[in-house]
C-alpha cells in the first residue's frame, strides 16, 4: 500500500514544521510554503511522514493512498 503526502492548499499557512521534520521529501518555497517531491513515500520515511502530518498546526497535511487516475 503506497502512500503520498497531500497538502490542503487553502488550509496551509506556511508554518513550515513539515519541512523540518521531513526534509527528504518537503522543501519550502521563498514564502515558506511546502513543495512536496512527487511520488509515494519510501517505507523508511513513513514514520517521519506521519510525524509531519501530526505536527501541522492547521491540519493541512495528509497521507493518502496513491490512486491511479
Amino acid at each position: 500500500m503506497r502512500e503520498q503526502l497531500v497538502v490542503d492548499r487553502i488550509r496551509c499557512d506556511g508554518h513550515g514544521l513539515c519541512a523540518e521534520l521531513l526534509p527528504e521529501v518537503i522543501a519550502l518555497d521563498d514564502w515558506g510554503y511546502p513543495i512536496i517531491r512527487a511520488g509515494s513515500i519510501a517505507p523508511s520515511l513513513l514514520e517521519h511522514a506521519r510525524q509531519a502530518v501530526d505536527a501541522c498546526p492547521v491540519l493541512a497535511l495528509k497521507l493518502a493512498l496513491v490512486t491511479a487516475m
Binding site: V7, D8, R9, I10, R11, C12, D13, G14, D29, D30, W31, G32, Y33, I35
Partner: protein
Amino acid sequence: MDRLLSGPPLTAGAESYGAHQQRFGALPAAAARSLIGRLEASHLIGRGGAGFPVGRKWRAVADRANGKAVVLANGAEGEPLSLKDRTVMAARPHLVIDGAVLAADAVGADDIIFYVGAEHRAAEAAMRYALAERAADLRGRARVVQAPRGYVAGEESAAVHFINAGDPRPTTTPPRPFERGVGGRPTLVQNVESLAAAALVARGDDAGTSLITLSSAVRRAGVREIALDATLAEVAASAGGLARPVQAVLLGGYFGGWVDITDLWARPLAPASLRARGHAFGCGVLSFLAEDSCGVEATARIMGYLASQSARQCGPCLFGLGAIDAACRRLAARSAQPDDLKRITRWGGELAGRGACKHPDGATGLLRSALGVFADDYAAHQRGRCVRGAPAAGRPGALAQAVA
C-alpha cells in the same frame, strides 16, 4: 463554415425559438440515450479552456447520477480576450438550451443551471427570454444564476461553491463537482459552447468547427467560427488578414501560451495537432502580437492581471504570483533587479500544482511560454534594454504593412 453560428447575422440578436426550430427541427430527445457514445466518438473536447473530453465528462456524471444529477451550463466568461461564450448565448440561446436539456437527459439530471457572467448583459437577457419561450417544455427544470465578476468565478469548483454558498472561490478537490457538486449532487459543469456543440452532434454534426475570438493586429477582430482543420494563416485570411507584421500569437488566452508565429502559421488549429506540439487550443483565443510590440511588456500586463485575480486563498498563488508580477513589471520597465529573470524562471517552475485550483498552473504556464518565445527580449530587458521597434522582414503580415 458556420454551424454553431449559422442562421441570421449575429447583429440580429437572439434567434427566436420558432426560428431555431424551423432551422434545426425539434429537440432530438431520443438522441439523448446514445449521445454520450456519440460525443466520445466525435472527440469533442470542452471549449471552456481545460480541454477535457466532453463525452468522458458526461459519462463520469452519468455513472453516479441516479437521476439526481445537476447540469451547470458555464457561461461565466472571465477570460479577458474571449467573447465567444457571451456571443453564442446572446445569439443562439436555444442551441445552448438544447445542449443543456440533452445533457440533463443523457446523464440523468433534474436540475439545469445557466451560470451567466454578470457583465454579459445581452447574453443573460437572451438566455432568460429563451427559457421563458420554452417554459412549458422545461417545467421548472432550468434557471439562470448570475455569476459574479472575476477570472476565477468561472472555475468549476468556484461556480459550484457560489451556487451552494454564495462564495465564488474555488474549493479543495477532491471531491470534484462530478462527484459532489451543487447541493452535494453529481454535477456536470460544461461550458456553454460545448453544450451548443453537443446539440449539433445530437443532430449528426461531427464537431469539426469551433468558435474563436481574434484580437490585435488582425483586420477584423472578434468572434468567428472556424473549421478545426484550418491553418492559422487561413483563419487570419478569413478575418481580412493581418494588419501588421506579427511575431507571436497568444493561443488559448491568459491560461494558454505564447507561440512563435512561424511555429503555428501553416499548421491546423485542431486540438490534437496543437497538443502534439505542446500547445493547447484552450478557449479559442487568438491574439496576435505585432513585430514591433514587446512581448516582455505584453506578458507583464497579463501577469499583473492574473496576480490580481488570485482568489487569495493559497499561499503559493497569492505570494508567488504577486512576486512574479512585481518582477515582470520591473523587467518590462527595464529596471530589473540583478536576479529578476533568474527568479521568475525558477518561480515559473515551482507554482504549478500548488493551488486548490489551476490558477497558478495557468499563470505560470503562460509565463514559461513567454520566457521561451521572448527569450532574447527578456535577456535584453534584464540588461536594461529593449530590442523591439523595427519589424523584421519576411514575417507574416509584412506585406500588409508595406502596402498600408
